[in-house]
Every structure is written in structure tokens, then in C-alpha cells.
Amino acid sequence: MREIVTIQVGGFANFIGSHFWNFQDELLGLAGDPNGDPIFKNQHLDMDVLYRTGETLQGIATYTPRLVSVNFQGSLGSMSSHGTLYDHNPPVPSHVVTWPGNVSTHLSEPHKKNLFLQSLYEEEQENLAPMDGINSGKNDCESEIQDKDIVESLENGVQFWTDFSKVHYHPQSLYELNGLWMDAQDFNNYGIGMDVFSEGLRGEEMNERLRFFVEECDHIQGIQFVVDDSGGFSSVAADFLENIADEYTNTPILLYTVRGPESYMNRRSRRQTMASDLHDAISFSRLSSFCKLIVPIGLPLLGRSKVSSYLCLEDEKPYHCSAVYAAALHSISLPFRMETLGPAMDSCYVSGAVDVYGLIQMLAGQARQNIVATLDAVMPAPSLTGKQVEQSLLGSLHPFTPEIAEDVEDLQEVESLTIHGAFGSGGYRASVSEVEDTVHAAYENATTKPLFSHLSVAHCPLPIPLPFPSIFGNLVGQHGELLGSPVMGGRPSRGSLDVHSIPMAARLRSTTAILPFLENRLGNLQRFGIARGASGTELLRSWGFAKDELEDTAERLSKMIMTLDPHSQSSSDSD
């Protein structure tokens, strides 16, 4: 077994993480549900890759994500930082054992649990109590009514990522940056987060949390790191990554830098825009230097992008946008945990297993050492309709990575594609070999095709858990099939009550399409930071960057460009 440890740093990263773990929790639940859809019975996914088994002090077995989540103090809403399983939260005591003198108690306004969290809590209490056959039947009926209210309350009232989380976390998982409060100040640039990691014992504590999970691993395959790189968390993550790269030298790190659409909205004045541009350049360059593969994710106008053809997304809701990205991350992570029977044999449920190291080698370790990959996905994936697959499936994959070129011809392109739960032409679930054959055939006929393409297929679709947002358009059916005509009588957007699962396809690509992304960062850094009399030098100095450091940063960026486009040097010099 090859374990993965997941790290989530920053606001939007934790929103994505929350959805991601909800999917996993749903898969676990459906696999064990006697009345569930049989397609989820044989997933042939090894959940132990992402989860750990443990035991509370009372001897009760636990199964929790192998996760370190880092965020502001006060960002956990109504969830205790110790999680809920290990009973670390005693009632407020009436006296203090260590102090005989006066005690003054300061109670913060308790965060009210929303309908969803209340129903989870009640369900748990019921499970603890002995089941009564007649009663439970009645409750089912009641909860049916409640589900609608739950979905509605989530649509309107998600404030924290914990508001829609149905997962139990380990007490070591949720780390709040002590003294760094949510909304306390504008935590929106690289400079402001510079000392956060090293201040006090924070860095030490974060390393310890991670070590706790790594020590347990018999053979860790990699670290999946998600960071909200829209602000100060970039530098927190960079410092954390530097420590990790130093401590776990041979453990590959797959880094997703994510940001929600709202992070693009505060670029009003010229000064703000410049600060954001500089932040983007520094942040990308720093983060990319501590990982083996970096995948930038986050479109400025997600709701209006091609990604959302069948979705109704509200850009200002992180709850909505993070769900889409989480689904793609889930798809990408499937090959890491597919159960393989042997090197040559593929089961009829999964195929194309590859570990984190393998994936990174494939994309970044080949002749062209390009460590930046783009993410494309389609949600829900269209069915494999014979010959038109090239247009329908491959053509419908749209980028989640911003600032990339479209329709570039890159002869050295390498990609890893994951398809799961896809439908065949007749509206039935396509078999693994059928998907493989169709995709291969599609590439055969395609006019442009990548140098190398790895395909992973799983039979099992993406389950839609109850707290998933109502973001599907009315052309999406119950199993994620695309309908010819809109569902009648329904609301324009459909959620977990109407759509139970969806087929997904997602791929990582190493491609020259990323060049504009890199060139923008290099260009902005040179224009605002390095050029003589540049307007941003003062700002960068206040972030702690001296000129020679900036030049190194620029060089690193231009090297990344060079690996993709050897002819670019002359143009970047003349800038």
C-alpha cells in the first residue's frame, strides 16, 4: 500500500478540501450501504491510501483522512480544532485545577450549527442509541423533508468550509495559525505572510503535525499539497514546502495552487493590480521551486467559462466554485489508489493505476523537464458516442488553469487523462475496456495528438453527497447523463437531491499552452519589479525582496519558459 498525505493551506484550499473529503466519505458510505447503487460496491479503490485507521482512548476504531489543514484562527466555524471523534472537548469546567485564585471566563458567541450539521449530529446520536425498527422508518420520511431545507440553507448560508463538511477529522489534522485572525487585516499578498510560518512555534507545530501522519506510513507515495495562492498563504506554504522538501527529500510533492474567482475581484486600482501581479509572479516562482509538479488552478470567471456549460455557478460563492475544482482533483487522484492485481492484468473496474511519483515522472521527468502542468476537466463528462468522441469527450475538456493559450500545437505534449463513470452510446455505463478503446480510437483519428498519453479509467462515477451545492444545470440527469431537453418543472439549478452521481473526466497536461501564464509572470516581474525605476520596487522591498533575489526569481521563470520554448530567450531579453 502506498500512502498519500494531503496538506491544505489557506481559505479556498480548505473549501476545495472539504468537498474532496466529502466525496471520499460518500464513496466509503456507499460502498458499505446494503441498499446503495451496486456500482459503488466494487470501486476497487484503496481508501487506505488517503485514510488512516486509529483508535480513541476509549478503544473505538476510527478512520480519518491523512490530512494537515492550515488556516486562520477562527476559520473552523462551529467545528472544534480537535475534531469530533476523540472527545477532546470537555464541557466548560466550573473551576480550574491549576489555579486556586480567581477565574474569569470569556465566552465567545458560540457558532450555531446550521441545519446540515444539526442533522449530522442527530443522525450520529441515533446511531449510538439502539435502533428501533418502527421509529427509524418514520425518521426516514421526516429526513426526506429536511433534506430540502438542508440544501437550501447551505445554498444561502455557507460561511466556513466546515459548514458543509460531513467528515470526521483527526485531532492532529486541523491547525489554526494562532494569533492570525480571519479578516483581521488584508492578508492578500506574499509579503504579509512572510513571517507567519517562523513566528513563535507555528512552523515547528506544523512540521510535527505532518510528521505524525508520515511516521505512520509504511511507504508513502507522495504528498498532495493544495494551497490558496491568492494571498499571504503563499508564503506560509512556501516556507512549509521548503521544510518538507528538506525533511522528506525523496517524497514527491504534487502541488495544486488554487484560488477562487473572488480573489480576482479586488483589483480595482492600478496599485492593487500591480501588487497582485507582483504577488502572482513571486508566489508562483517560490512555490514551484519546492515541488516536483505544480498545477495552477482557478479561473477568474469560472461561472462564465466553458467549464460551466452544464453548470450554474455563482462566482462569488466559494462553496460553489470549490466544488468544481474538488471534483477535478478527485478524478486526478483516482489512479493513485486503484487496486492493481498485477502489472499486466487490469480489472474490469479500474485500469491505468499510477502512483504520484509515476505521474510526476511522466509529466515532468521526460525529455522536457517542465514542472508546470495544466488541468483540464469536464463536468459532467459526455457519453462516449462512437466516432464523435474526439469532439464530444476530448473536445469538451476545458482548462481550469488560467492564462493559457488555446489551440496550440505542441508536438511534445504529454498528458495523463482520467475518465470515470462514463456512459456508452446507449445510455448504459461503459465498461473500462470500452472507454479505453474509444479514447484510443479517438486519438488515432485526431489531427493533433500528444506525444504521450496515459489513460486511467474507473467504472465508478463521482458520487454527489448531500452537502454538494446545487450547481447542475437542468440538462443534467440523475446519473449525470446529459439530457436532450431540460428537465420540466424543476428549478434552473439542480443539486444533490436530483443528481446522485456524475461521470467525470480530467487530465493533467504538460504543454506549451502554459507559456502565456509563465510569460505574464516574468513580464510583470520585470516591468514592475526589476526594470529601472520600476514602480513596484518599493513594495517588493517592503515584502523583503532585494534586487538580486528578484533577478534570481526572474531567471528561474525564464528558465521555465526556456524548457518549453527554446527560442524565447531573445524576446525576453529585449523586454
Partner: protein, 536 residues
Amino acid sequence: MSLRVLNPNAEVLNKSAALHMNINAAKGLQDVLKTNLGPKGTIKMLVGGAGDIKLTKDGNTLLKEMQIQNPTAIMIARTAVAQDDTSGDGTTSTVLFIGELMKQSERYIDEGMHPRVLVDGFEIAKRATLQFLEKFKTPVVMGDEPDKEILKMVARTTLRTKLYEAMADQLTDIVVNAVLCIRKPEEGIDLFMVEIMHMRHKFDVDTRLVEGLVLDHGSRHPDMKRRAENCYILTSNVSLEYDKSEINAGFFYSSAEQREAMVAAERRQVDERVKKIIELKNKVCSGNDNNFVVINQKGIDPPSLDLLARAGIIALRRAKRRNMERLVLACGGEAVNSVDDLTPDCLGWAGLVYEHILGEEKYTFVENVKNPHSCTILIKGPNDHTIAQIKDAVRDGLRSVKNTMEDESVVLGAGAFEVAARQYLVNEVKKTVQGRAQLGVEAFADALLVVPKTLAENSGLDTQDVIIALTGEHDRGNVVGLNQHTGEPIDPHMEGIFDNYSVKRQIINSGFVKLIALNLGPPLVYILGSFGSTKS
């Protein structure tokens, strides 16, 4: 908890309004922290929105738990927290002193005095107080054998302000012995060489000093011994796991056989390393009952664990980086980065190694070591918030001992220094100053009294009575502090109440520097502006 909220985009306030706002912010902060001070202070129990409990009597911890929004208050809080970073204590005193100095200033400025003149007086008073501190401090000789009694008194003074007496006294011995254990002649004291571990346990009195090391993990093989005596300890940072990334060749193999061959070759390399460790074990353990323990910073995978277990070796993987250093200091030997030239000289020694399991948590005790230079304070408490509070107190205690040894001096506590310094300023310094700056000296002198005043207030005593009694004694030439039970003057020397010299020095220094910036009454916007750009 949030203090006064101030819109950072507020228009430029005029000088006097800005000044009053600054003063109010300082007062607000002072009010919150005031009740912390001293052995009679109030402990605070903070309950978060999700029910998380935090217990603290420590100004530093409290400041971090407050969501402060007023820029002046933030500035004062930062000064105070920086104080804690450099000297480990004195956060509350710093905030109180700054607050009091601002209050005093308000009075004089309202009477029409120019802030600039006042600040000149402060500057003179500060220098004089620092000079006075040099005369007032009690030197302590730190030779080869430091005076343990004085170290204990300082530690006890600190700990008794955080924990109930019996526990404070118990921890006093623990922290003093811990620092003495890690002390090396001619070198600075690195408190990181004291590991602080915690365990959930019914009783907090079980907190103890382990001469040796406690690790928060155990061996990962069912056949390894859970308890072993007379152990050789190998401290290593060597990868004992099969690592694909060590193959430089490409990832794609043309056939399954080729892949298998690569894997086997790679596996062999790891096995070789394990075998070298086993060879060393056989060399040193043949013909005796001694045991062999490997504590590795890198990973050890199950096949390697198997080999080691079969050879009768106990192996721990992924040890903390710092424990590599601590282990060598505790057990001897050296930390090895490669198994190529292993010799028996690399090995350390421990009389006893055993595992303790608590739910899913495992602890490994490495004890009965010879001549340790690293040790572990094992804190036990009934729940997380109690453990956290004891941990904070232990850190403060350790710092106070370290400070004393580095300062080679201490300062009489219980308010004695503040009263003495105040009398010195008023009786001697003031008359040497020309003109209105005298008033600045006086204001500074009176501000110093905030410490004994607050101590008295927290003990439920009448502050005026106390101050009169104390200053009276000082004028008669007796250096006295405050007895917090009776309100009578006491001799802190007799009672063993001592504070750190460096902490006192720092308070006088830091409190003042920032105050100048604030008190000159610059428009508030200036303060805000200087925030973002000056990152020191």
C-alpha cells in the same frame, strides 16, 4: 474578544484627538491584562465559538487570543509580544507600563504641556532608571556550579504566578534541573535541548523530569520488544526504505521482467544498509545480554523492519529532526548519515528503553542514560487545555532559569525594584533636570508604580495604603516589596522573590521606544502608514 474597533480608513485626526485615541487604546489593553499580574491574579478561561477551551494567565498568550483592531493597541501588543520573544516574560508588565505612561502623559498634556518636552523627560528618566538597575541588581556568580537556590527562587517566582503553589514548587525543581542538565561550559544555553512532551493523565502532579528522552512514537513491528534493558542506541539519518526515485533511469520499462529486475536491484541496496546495521549489532551484542535500538530520522519500510526485528533490533522511524541532536546529547555516540563506516563508537547507551501505549498514541522512553546533556519534561494533565497551560508555564520557568544564568544577576521582586527606582527618580534625578522636563521624569517615576499598584489591587488591598507604606520604607533605606497576603512590606530577599534582570531591562527599554512615536502625537494616518512599510 475585540477591543475598540477603529476604521483604518478614518480621516486624518487632529493631533489632540489622535493622542486621546492612542491613550484610550492603551488603557483598554491595560484593563484587559491588568488582572493577570502576580500570584494573586485572575486566570482567564477563553471559550471559543466551537467550544475549544484555552486557559491562560500569561499576557503573551492572551494577546494572541485577542482579535485586536485598534492600530495603537496592535502596536502596543506587538511591542509586548516582542518582549516575550526576546526575554520570555514581562508581556503583561510591558503593557501595563506603556498604558500607565500614556495615562500620566494625558494628565500633563491636558494641562498644556508639550509632548516633546514630556518625552525629553522620559528619555532622561529612562536612562537614569537603566543606570539605577545596574546598581540595584543582585549579582549572581555562575561558576562551574551555579547557585541552585537562587535559580530555584527565580523559577519559583515565575511559576507561582501561573500555577498553584504545590505544583509550582514541584515544577521549580524540574525546570532548574532541566536547565542544569543541558548546560554546557562555555556555550549558550539551548532550551530546545529540553524536550517537552505531554500525556493525558488524570493527575497533573505526575509531571516529571525524564533524564533521557521521550519520543512520541514507537516501533512499527509486532515482533520488536516493548521493553529492553542495557541498550546500545544508534542515532541515524539513513533511508531504510525502497525508494523509486533513486533510480535515475526513466520510469517506463519495456517489460515486466525488466521492471522486476530494477525493483529487485533497488531493494538489494536497502537490504545492504540494513545488513550493515545488523552486523554492528552482532559485533557489540555477541556474548552479552545487551540490546540494540535504532532511532532513524528517515523512513524504515516493512521489509527492513522485518530484517531488523529478526535480528532482535528495536527500530523507530521518522524521529524528529531535533531528537537526533537530543539523543546524542542524552545517550552519547554520534548521529550517522550513512551506514558505510559504522563503528561501535557511533553508539550511544541507555539503561532502559520501553514503550508506553495510550490509545493510538505511543511513547518510547529512553532512560537511565549516563551523564545526559538533554532531558525531557513530561507533562501530564487531565485534558488538553490544562496540559497547554502547564506547558506555557514550564516554558516561562525554563526561560527564567536560562535568563538568570546568562544575566549572572537577578532583581528583587514583589514590586521592590519599581518602588526603589521611583524613589531614586523623584528624590535624586528630578532635581538635576532643568525646567519642565522635570515633570516628564516625575510622570515616568509614577508610571513605574503601576506594578506594585496592580499587585496590590489584584490582592484586594488598598493601593494607596500600600504605596505609602512601601515608599516610606524605601525612604528609610529599606528595600522592600509587597506581601500579597497582608499588604505589609516584606524583604523580597528573605522571601526568595526574584525577577529576571534582562526582563526588567527590556521592559524599560521597549516600552519607552514605541511610546515616543505615539506620544509625539503624529496624525494617526502616519502611524498606519509606517506600519506596512517598516517590517523589522
